[in-house]
């Protein structure tokens, strides 16, 4: 609906502005597409080329390495690498815990904020948004300290209550990193969802109230379905976001050995490039990660547009 409306407006305006055609448009578009080609398209194409080649040394390992076309061999090696596949599995698990926690938390908080009895809405909005103003590196650092025994009030308090827990233990470190992501992103999405809730026509809610629906009932069966479109956009960006996972494990890996240098695919690719110095494999891994992102976002958009239609 809205899309159609937009296109018609655009068309009408286009006709009105006859004479501002291709050449002017090009003038406005060239700067963007120039940086777009330099920063996105060219790097991806070059990596594709690199990923099909390999550096091979002569039999004795002396002399200049030669670049040889090896077809899909790098990709096969990446997929056969146990550490890479473990990273993918770990990322999947991360996604499974993180997405419901973060999105669920954001929905609940936004609905609470929109409840008629909520006080001080402005202040609460500002407070939940606070973590988003904290860079990922700093957020990871703060939590790394909050997880470290001896310095952390959290560990100390839990010990006082008789609970011994090591947040950086290899079995617990994944949820610990999920928590950092939840902390960073929930507030941001609360604001988006709260704005969507504000757009719900009050007449509908009033009618529901007259019909005897309580606050909770109204939230579940009226407000929630009406914010589904906003929710599907959030899901899309959240899932793309999880594939980016790099900063938090990179910082945490300095505080504990539980996070290895190949813990998630992005770390694996970084390790391939800068520790193992195998640029061709790093290129192949990057292409795999980008491809995975493309497939996932396609799937989510398809799914959400089907959901919105029905």
């Amino acid at each position: 609906m809205a899309t159609q409306a937009l296109t018609t407006t655009v068309r009408r305006q286009g006709r009105a502005l006859a004479g501002t055609g291709g050449r002017t448009a090009a003038l406005f578009l060239v700067p963007f597409f120039a940086v777009f080609v330099i920063a996105m398209i060219a790097p991806v194409i070059y990596s594709l080329v690199l990923s099909f080649h390999s550096q091979q040394k002569s039999g004795l390992g002396f002399g200049e390495a030669k670049t040889v076309f090896v077809g899909l061999e790098n990709y096969v090696q990446v997929f056969q690498s146990e550490t890479f596949m473990e990273g993918i599995a770990r990322l999947g698990l991360y996604c499974l815990i993180y997405v419901p926690c973060m999105v669920g938390g954001a929905v609940v908080f936004a609905l609470l904020l929109d409840a008629t009895v909520a006080k001080a809405r402005k202040l609460f909005q500002l407070l939940v948004f606070l973590p988003h103003a904290v860079p990922g590196v700093i957020a990871a650092l703060i939590w790394a300290y909050l997880y470290t025994p001896g310095i952390s009030p959290l560990v100390q308090a839990l010990q006082g209550g008789g609970i011994q827990i090591n947040f950086l233990d290899s079995h617990v470190v994944l949820p610990s990193i999920v928590n950092i992501g939840v902390w960073e992103w929930t507030g941001y999405n609360v604001i988006i969802l709260f704005t969507a809730l504000q757009a719900v026509p009050r007449e509908i809610l009033e009618a529901a109230r007259v019909d005897g629906a309580g606050e909770i009932r109204a939230a579940v069966s009226i407000k929630f379905p009406l914010i589904l479109p906003a929710l599907s956009v959030i899901m899309l960006f959240t899932i793309i976001g999880t594939l980016q996972l790099f900063t938090e494990p990179n910082i945490i890996s300095k505080a504990t050995a539980s996070v290895t240098s190949t813990w998630v695919p992005n770390l694996w690719a970084y390790d391939a490039a800068f520790i193992r110095h195998n640029l061709n494999q790093a290129a192949a891994a990057s292409i795999i990660i980008a491809g995975l992102a493309a497939i996932l976002s396609l799937a989510v958009t398809r799914l959400s547009s089907r959901m919105n239609k029905s």
Partner: protein, 311 residues
């Protein structure tokens, strides 16, 4: 492919919002009869707990930055030990001849250029997509949307590989050029242009003999200013928070932004705990500019979130 969800601009028209804002006082007063004391307590209590989870870690950072290394490990977290905040700041400032402030100004430079110039580039493109008719418009916009959907980190290593091919790694350009590219900004700018700049105004300007470039800079851009500021703000935060790109591209410590710099200090603090107060104080100093920007520019980030996702 992604058009169905992403190109659904403006759902809350200004009139609707106005209506919402005008209405609630009455409606809310009515519904308050429904909410008893217990539900008021539950809702606000839960909101308070949620906000505490968000705020307490930042508060810890503030308290921790007032302590020296001994107190950090020795005293309870929220107690004030010997107040050593200024001592810590002095240590941060003196380390490696003021390197920290060099990092901070690098961050300001990268984020500032990315925000001001990068957003201008995005706004120009978004304006063109909204206001001009040209061939391949839809397919070009499709490229922009694909750009929105590719995760940043997936292109960082490819960018590094390309930059090392042309010998650009370890220069400011290796960070500055990529941050100018903001496809999401183009998408937002198209939405803003559609809702802020009426075609009639541009038509009138054209009648008066203004060329398209002149009417963009003297009419379109000023009318889109709130949108421009919003895009710039988000771009500023994005670049300020960027970690993987500068980590990969830069080796010279003099060129690092503060995010990578602090992570290097964190690396030092593992064998040398006396570095820990500096990491903590440095972290606090590096988030203050962003906190201030967010509180002052609340109006803009809220409108940015609305335009980007709800519509």
């Amino acid at each position: 492919m992604s058009t169905p969800t992403l190109s659904r601009p403006r759902s809350t028209s200004p009139s609707q919002q106005g209506h919402r804002r005008g209405g609630p006082a009455f409606t809310r007063g009515m519904s308050n009869r429904g909410g008893g004391f217990a539900s008021k307590l539950t809702v606000n209590g839960l909101l308070l707990i949620g906000s505490a989870y968000m705020v307490v870690p930042v508060l810890w950072l503030v308290f921790a930055s007032t302590k020296n290394a001994a107190d950090l490990y020795g005293t309870s977290a929220y107690a004030l030990g010997n107040f050593s905040l200024f001592e810590n700041i002095a240590n941060v400032a003196q380390q490696d001849g003021g390197l920290f402030f060099r990092w901070l100004s690098n961050s300001v430079m990268y984020a500032g250029v990315g925000a001001v110039l990068g957003s201008l580039i995005s706004v120009m493109a978004g304006y063109a997509f909204d206001k001009f008719q040209f061939r391949w418009k839809d397919s070009l916009f499709g490229f922009v949307l694909v750009g929105v959907l590719i995760p940043n980190t997936a292109t960082v290593l490819p960018m590094y590989l390309l930059a090392s091919l042309v010998g650009m790694t370890n220069t400011v350009w290796a960070v500055l050029i990529p941050v100018l590219c903001n496809p999401f900004g183009v998408y937002l700018a198209r939405v803003y242009s559609a809702s802020y700049v009426p075609a009639e105004t541009l038509e009138a300007a054209r009648m008066d003999g203004a060329g398209p470039i002149r009417s963009f800079f003297s009419l379109g851009l000023p009318m889109m200013m709130p949108g421009y500021i919003t895009i710039a703000l988000f771009q500023f935060v994005g670049v300020w928070n960027n970690f993987m790109l500068p980590l990969v591209m830069l080796q010279d410590q003099q060129l690092l932004p503060v995010s990578v710099g602090i992570s290097i200090w964190q690396g030092y603090s593992v064998p040398q705990p006396e570095f820990t107060p500096m990491v903590i104080t440095g972290s606090l100093l590096s988030i203050i500019p962003l906190l201030v920007a967010f509180i002052l520019l609340q109006r803009f980030w809220k409108s940015g979130l609305t335009a980007g996702s709800v519509k």
